[in-house]
Subunit: 345 residues, 4 copies
């Protein structure tokens, strides 16, 4: 956004009017031959309409750039996943949405990092369902940094997830790791997850979009918010039924948490861009002892829901056990966030 | 922390026991001549005592490194500032602490970026006091990136702050920018602030520590949590009466928020290290339209209080106007966070 | 690496011996019951063998972790691409390798960001060949941040590249963007490129590896060196004929260059790990006016070659024109780096 | 910089002309009521004058922002330190400047992290002088992350440095850590160093500037190039005789090097801004085994000189021993960079 001043404008007065509306001037530009001043507005300014600015005394013109993600902008704050609904909002004391009742509340997505066996899937599904969770998460295909690490059980895992979810009235959200996996994932899941490592994998985004399902799009480890939205645009322009964003921490220099959870971006997506955004505190900090306060903070910041790694025995998890919660631990958090002052409201 | 295994231990079983307690093994070390395995535990693991680990079957020894900040560790979660108290805690629906009543609640630190005149100080102080705020913040000495930007009004500002605070029953917290300013700042303020740009300025930390006051220590723009704690150790070992930490966002690559607010570090300091930490969402995101959700998220994550830039007219602020709230806007947030579900609980 | 001290060792003396060899002690670990000290060696230490350390007076044991990328470690500093060879080395004044003569020198990979037409491919190929360049680069499939940006001409481009290269005695290196493209890319190219956005795309790495070709593996925008090497391990363990690494700048907070070119990582790969690494200063800084000094610096740091975006008319380039060099500009650099003091030697 | 188009301009043609000159368009701005287009030029574009752009067909106006550091811009590429001179340039095969001969070449600044005793200072000074080094570096006041680490020997060290330098015809460069140290440092040194941790310490910059000496200004750990230049402006506007910049690596997420050496910034300062910039590979990577290639790369990128930590016995160094070179190792590098193809040219 550029604000152009009239020749006779009072620059201080205009600057004051901009500040009053929360706009930062990142650069003052002077026309070579002595023409009027132009103020370049910084991207971290409050969202204010061009019309409102154009009416300020001393301003001759306001220019704006066209959004590069019109479909994302048009989607709105709510995405349907079957008869469930994920929506941006202030979820206070609502706990997991009461399943089947149409009651509104944050979406809870719980389950293990990796699906390990059918029995395992069933056990976890029953456990999280008993807490009121709506979405069963779990990986059948796993993106592992090392080629020698456990890569997931594959298509079988999708079937186990589906059956376990159906038996407990849950929706399934699971990751499609490669283009070749997409048909099978699309067949067995309610919502397809794009992992952080694939947020910039445009070939995959196109294939997933074509499947026509709702998609959970994790933010890349060093992706800007704009790049994240553009990956959403890839999905929607390819046919995705809806895009829910998922913040899971970005890369940083500090080693006391596994990643750096960016709740400022969550507040931006939820409150300014009006988009649904799930927060994954498990990957966000990687520390089991911080998941409860950060889950509360996420909802307080405007998250549409939470993705929390859960395992009936984290000590036997085939991946990411240290950050997984036992079912009982998840229960404590669910109850905390569902209380009269819950939801970080 | 290093966990050493017995020669005949079952590595998978031990690894499981560690995962069960939230510990990540960052490296597996093999002794050259075929001796036992050693697991190096990653810093982003949950906090677990060495004794508990030593009792696990298959573990022969557990080693730990000594804390490099014993005085910080010993301080505890609560710091007194005159008859006020800043303490780590879960502040739900308590709103600003009822002044003079001894009631517990989050500390609110409000006021302008720069103090501009005595009248200005008085006006802001009366305004924030009427909302129940306890601490008046405001800069008399300003660290500005450009030598040609407004550098603050200097010692006069300290006097104005003091008088305005006293007239309204407020405490004063203000920054000492250089060693030479410390005596004057110490004379007029209740709590001395160390700015982000000076967190690594050890000469200043020593001089401030010697003043014997409680100190608000902002985190450096790219400081690790460990470096932040060590700067606290400089203050305490030089004589500071107490150290309250303040997270105000770190530097990042994304431009949609001014800085990246690290609420994971806040949760860590509050819930694991049991230290009082204030959150400054004004600098943290720089966007007036995101301060409310992030203030709520900060308290939900465990903040001991909030520092929020407030100005009776942000359009006339001599610095950082775009991120300052008008008094009426602050009032909305105070009421929101003081409600029955407030405080991000 | 952990260095364990004897009970009666002099810690200062041992620390001195470690420092003398360039080893940083990141943590000193104390055994709970009063046993011996352990020093955890930081990853940014000089590479020193465990055997040498074990002989130091006062050290009882040295432990090391097994490499997680044995195939990468075993590959060595030289990779053959047909009858060409890319190798780590100090390339001083050698200019582009004299083609067909077997003479040794840095590998030059030049050509446009996007291939636009057959005529365009021919023109560029003839131009770069006349300067002594060995590899023709150019994209037929383009990973673009926006779904509405030019996505490349597709398979036709591969054919044009191949014909243009053959007509001028050049090798072709081009990117495979998705799994479905791999067969066509493998058919027409001498070396398959993995782009930065796909470094963590393990499904693609496996498919590309299976094609059995040499691969140019660009570093991800926020990838650690270890993650980069592990992606190389994915390729080699899947069957790639060889992996050449390519540093193209990582994400940073500064906006005066497009990315942050990490020549420290280049020196590490070349001089310590003995791996071939190409440097792409075009993406590395994005500024045409800095490519010459950074190309020189790259060779001085140990690069095995250079990838430089070149277009016969950067003003007509369909992508990344601002960072492309015109052929005449490339010629200046080639001559500069081939002179008696060239090659940054 | 903003480029405004005429109403009837061909946007593609103008965009092409900009690309041809290395300019990136970061945003296209549309005037609300249908007026002309404006292109916002990205900061990572090549440096091109506004006049040249204004002559392009289809462009109606070009606006530029005024530099915020006019004194830095005016300084030029060369700074005198007594009868020595530090200057931006392409130093190929020149080795350390022949002292006393007026010969031109890169400035070498060598010596230990900490000065430990007078004998130590004498020994190092004689050693580095014998290699042709011009500047003796060494710390009397040390900024240490921990208050319990060795803090330097203080004023005595300044006297020892001065005597050792004088006895060997060397200049002294040493750090002033706090405002109170500045008079003593100014008295005994030829050039005052501002450390990375103090780049944003504006109170100190002002006091150092007033001393009227040439200053070596290290870049802050997360400072943008613009902030670095502005700190130089603080120094010059306070009276510094000249400012030489020093790149020593910025903070990053990778742990295989101690910091991330930003040679792109070095090339920018040297070749575009025409400012003298020293490179410190010792702190830049922290690895003794990478200093030689990075020293070569630094000169190739345009460094005006090198700062290399040197100790007669790194095993006895009181700080940063692991990254210090022994004198013999320094000798190898000096000879390498002074050869017929030296200097990384």
């Amino acid at each position: 956004m550029i604000v152009s001043l009239k020749q006779d404008a009072d620059p201080t007065a205009v600057m004051g009017e901009l500040a009053r509306r929360g706009l930062w001037v990142s650069r003052v530009e002077h026309t070579a031959g002595g023409g009027p001043l132009h103020y370049v507005i910084a991207p971290h300014s409050a969202a204010v309409g061009a019309d409102e600015l154009a009416r300020i005394d001393g301003i001759s013109a306001v220019t704006v750039s066209r959004s590069s993600h019109p479909l994302v902008d048009r989607q709105g704050p709510s995405v349907a996943v079957g008869d469930a609904r994920i929506e941006a909002g202030s979820w206070a004391g609502a706990g997991p949405r009461a399943r089947g009742t149409g009651a509104r509340g944050p979406a809870w997505m719980c389950g293990p990092c990796s699906i390990e066996s059918e029995e395992h899937a069933r056990e976890v599904a029953a456990g999280v369902a008993s807490l009121g969770v709506t979405f069963l998460r779990g990986g059948a295909f796993k993106p592992r940094t090392s080629p020698y690490a456990f890569q997931g059980v594959g298509v079988d895992g999708l079937v186990w997830l589906r059956r376990a979810a159906d038996a407990n009235g849950l929706k399934v959200v699971t990751e499609a790791l490669g283009e070749a996996d997409v048909p099978a994932v699309a067949e067995h899941t309610d919502m397809i997850q794009v992992g952080s490592r694939n947020m910039h994998n445009y070939a995959l985004l196109k294939v997933i979009g074509k499947a026509g399902k709702p998609v959970l799009l994790k933010r890349g480890m060093a992706a800007t918010v704009e790049e994240w939205l553009l990956s959403g645009e890839y999905l929607l322009s390819s046919g995705a039924a809806g895009v829910v964003f998922c913040e899971r921490g970005i890369r940083s220099f500090d080693e006391t948490t596994r990643n750096l959870l960016d709740l400022g971006a969550v507040a931006l997506l939820s409150h300014v861009l009006r988009l649904p955004v799930i927060v994954d505190p498990s990957h966000g900090v990687g520390r089991r002892d911080l998941i409860q306060p950060l889950a509360r903070a996420a909802l307080a910041a405007g998250a549409a829901g939470l993705m929390i790694e859960t395992h009936e025995d984290p000590g036997r998890a085939m991946s990411d056990g240290p950050q997984a919660l036992a079912l009982a631990e998840l229960g404590v958090i669910v109850r905390d966030l569902s209380g009269p002052r819950g939801g970080g409201s």
